[in-house]
């Protein structure tokens, strides 16, 4: 069987799998960003319990394996009465894990905004919330975009683990095709290329574009 015949036969399944991977990536990214912003801000809170909660969250999700977390969410949480579809469990696990990494990016970026900006906002008598939303966060956002690009690529690749709880993503399809055809090189090679194309030609250009747009808003372009 030539590679073209292989693609003609199994291409549609790769496309289906890639679509699921893309959807998992988008949903996990939205969740990760929300968690990262919330936890990043909470880690900077003056309120000790709030700060502690965020620190414990980050430590747990950063310090343990994503695969174990995925299994916990899918296999263990039902024992406590929390049951999720495998599709949901998949992106929730990935999003919660990468969100913990993202929280550190958010925290670091906020701390990197010069002290003078905080002081100028205070001198204008802005409330703490306004100070963050209007002055500090927009500047922190620009600073955290490049590392977020990295993190989103990590996240995309991390979604491959959801195949282990039988979410029919790209990796799952590749494994299925491999086990029926034994054409390992073609099956996993195709998956490899698709992952690469998604990160290199979708995520990276998107992040570059976002950086350019934000830089222009800052008057830096």
């Amino acid at each position: 069987m030539s590679y073209f015949e292989f693609l003609a036969e199994y291409g549609p399944r790769f496309v289906d799998g890639a679509a699921v991977t893309a959807l998992q990536t988008v949903l996990a990214a939205v969740l990760a960003i929300a968690i990262a912003v919330a936890m990043g801000l909470m880690r900077l809170s003056r309120n000790v319990p709030v700060r502690w909660f965020a620190t414990v969250y980050v430590e747990i999700f950063r310090g343990t394996s994503l695969l174990v977390q995925l299994y916990w969410i899918f296999f263990v949480l039902p024992l406590f009465g929390i049951t999720m579809e495998k599709f949901t469990a998949g992106f929730v696990a990935v999003g919660m894990n990468l969100g913990a990494y993202g929280a550190e990016l958010v925290r670091g970026a906020i701390l990197s905004v010069p002290k003078g900006q905080w002081e100028a906002a205070l001198a204008l008598n802005m409330s703490p919330a306004k100070r963050m939303v209007r002055v500090i966060f927009p500047q922190a956002f620009l600073a955290m975009l490049p590392p977020w690009g990295n993190l989103l690529i990590e996240l995309l690749k991390g979604t491959a683990l959801v195949s282990l709880i039988s979410v029919a993503d790209l990796m799952f399809e590749a494994k299925q095709i491999n086990s029926t055809t034994f054409l390992s090189a073609q099956a996993f090679g195709t998956a490899l290329v698709i992952y690469y194309v998604m990160s290199r030609f979708l995520i990276t250009p998107f992040m570059r574009w976002l950086e350019r747009v934000m830089a222009r808003k800052m008057g830096r372009a």
Binding site: G116, E119, L122, A123, R134, Q139, K217, M218, G219
Partner: protein
């Protein structure tokens, strides 16, 4: 800030001769280091007071305390008759809560050595930010007010530029307009020319000159520009070791300093320039 109730200080300053700003026995310490040592200082409404002195003498701390960027260890500051960082409670003064602080802070505007303009906003957006998002003015009114002020500081033609496109002197002028847009009663200038190239210092000092001439603002300024201080101040205070070593009219203090430390400082400054 001490937590106990202060009972030896008046809850309010009353009467026509009450100063706009009053420091009463204000002490500031960082660990073992006493930056301000029981400072007493009054500034009348409309007065321009310049603070000079060697670095580490506590002069910038005076302004930062007024802007509530620093806390007070002892004593009370009054602004427009009311305690700045304390509020009346049970017949005495207790440390103020955030609501009280925000009300008091509205009286004060500040310009910084490094301008601290918001880089993601244009010149006019910088000026409109406070009026729109703090004072709650309609955008049109805030824009008119900001345009007027940018005109006053000679920056109207750069209103749509981001700070990164402006020189230091231009940024500082926008920063002055931004602070004035909040209509403060007291303006603080913290070494506003120290980070500027020599050839643009004049554009900033001219704006401040204009303010002194045309407005009845109360102003406190920390500066190293002795000639400028001499020209525009109503009073000059020489700080040394967290205290006012000597103060007086600029002609007297610069022309005929009484204290030895003042003489030493002024001659050292003269030699350097």
């Amino acid at each position: 800030m001490s937590q106990e109730t202060l009972s030896d200080f008046p809850l309010e300053l009353e009467g026509a001769d009450a100063p706009m700003v009053r420091f009463r026995q204000v002490t500031k310490r960082y660990g073992n280091l006493t930056v301000l040592d029981s400072l007493d200082l009054d500034v009348a409404e409309g007065e321009m007071v310049t603070i000079i002195g060697p670095s580490g003498s506590g002069k910038t701390t005076v302004l930062r305390m007024l802007m509530t960027l620093e806390t007070i260890n002892e004593g009370v500051i009054y602004v427009d008759g009311k305690p700045l960082t304390h509020m009346p409670r049970n017949g005495g003064l207790v440390p103020a809560d955030n609501r009280y602080l925000r009300k008091m802070r509205a009286n004060i505007g500040m310009c910084f050595q490094h301008f601290n303009l918001f880089p993601h906003m244009t010149a006019i957006e910088n000026c409109m930010e406070g009026p729109v998002h703090v004072l709650g003015l309609p955008k049109r009114e805030a824009r008119e007010r900001s345009e007027e002020l940018l005109e006053m500081v000679g920056m109207a033609d750069k209103r749509d530029q981001h700070p990164s496109r402006l020189s230091g002197g231009q940024q500082q002028r926008v920063a002055i307009a931004r602070a004035l847009a909040m209509r403060p009663k007291v303006m603080l200038f913290d070494e506003v020319t120290s980070a500027l190239d020599p050839e643009v210092i004049g554009e900033v000092t001219n704006v401040i000159r204009k303010l002194v001439g045309e407005h009845n603002l109360t102003m406190l300024m920390v500066t190293h520009q002795m000639g400028f201080a001499k020209d525009i101040s109503d009073r000059v205070c020489f700080f040394f070791g967290g205290r006012i070593e000597e103060q007086g009219k600029p002609a007297d203090l610069f022309g005929n300093p009484q204290r030895e430390r003042t003489q030493q400082f002024l001659s050292a400054v003269k030699e350097a320039s």
